[in-house]
Symmetry: D2
Subunit: 115 residues, 4 copies
Amino acid sequence: MDPTDREAACFEAGIKFGTLYHQFAGTPVSPDSAASLERAMAEAIENQPFCESVTVDVLEDVLADELAEQSADYAELTGRFVEVEMRIEYEGTTVRTRMAMDGDYPLMEVVDVAD
Amino acid sequence: MDPTDREAACFEAGIKFGTLYHQFAGTPVSPDSAASLERAMAEAIENQPFCESVTVDVLEDVLADELAEQSADYAELTGRFVEVEMRIEYEGTTVRTRMAMDGDYPLMEVVDVAD
Amino acid sequence: MDPTDREAACFEAGIKFGTLYHQFAGTPVSPDSAASLERAMAEAIENQPFCESVTVDVLEDVLADELAEQSADYAELTGRFVEVEMRIEYEGTTVRTRMAMDGDYPLMEVVDVAD
Amino acid sequence: MDPTDREAACFEAGIKFGTLYHQFAGTPVSPDSAASLERAMAEAIENQPFCESVTVDVLEDVLADELAEQSADYAELTGRFVEVEMRIEYEGTTVRTRMAMDGDYPLMEVVDVAD
């Protein structure tokens, strides 16, 4: 059957997460450039339909630890280095989502769905 | 409240679509390379959790028309040149989705949700 | 034979341009998010080796014209919407490069090579 | 001064490497999907100007070792998992390049420049 508004809202929320991750994964990032990347990622995704709010937090401690163990002084952005929260508003439904590491996997999940 | 299985299934479906689009948007594509790109896109996304089936169709006629009007003999992949269908299976729920142009916008939509 | 320092410097300059373009092509962009994207693109690429300076200019007039003709209120970043200048320093050689539209093609070119 | 043909050829070679890496970094990849990704990457980049030949080798042993140590059964494509060779032909100059790991860094380098 057709999706309900809540289901369509969750679909929209998923699109935003896949977009954010795969548009920016691989971006060269360092402690110095973390702040500009956080802001650009958030504002880029907020352009998409139904996307009310995006917060991106590059985990500078985790990034610094990684850089201390490698030869280059920057890394490629991947899920270990970032936490994200988003709020989607679709036809009266609000979906709150987040991404954070679950063990070794960057888990994207729906935190709350509310009419 | 927490998402239902159907809502979580739709969230997962959205993730796959955002991933597919933003991982591969911008890829140089021509009629000669369309088939290999279709296959790689489908197989890449099928790696993701709960993603049972992906079909990617590069619209070679639309692509050829675009190439006839421009100087380069390849284009960057974007929504005008591709149609996609996916099937997600999550905890007993099947979500069918597709992407196709809706006027000038590449619309990703849930076609069917079934327990 | 092995590349000269000047040739290696030009190779490095090319890497940065390919990186910048294909990392960020497809990013949702609007007049409101243009400034944060410009800064993030520049700072991301400046992380790479031998890359001394990057300037990214999202062409807000061109972007606004495009948005006026389409249904969505954002676009995907592509070469029409951006001009870039970079300076690479490699083993005493300075390479200046730029990207701008050449007719309908976003041409990346070496402007100057100096020992 | 303006670049020589050899320098311009090296610049073109660099563009192709940056494109290949940052277009496809982050792509979900598994041993089952490695072959289709190799082919799509090669054919996509061969579309670009002056790019005569691209060979992409996903290192399935390295990939399998990584998958054995993590929870997910796929990885995101990054430099550890891939070796690349390219041949660029520009105005009579042939540039051969490759990418392979140099310690922990995916090094792109010019192997040979020949008139």
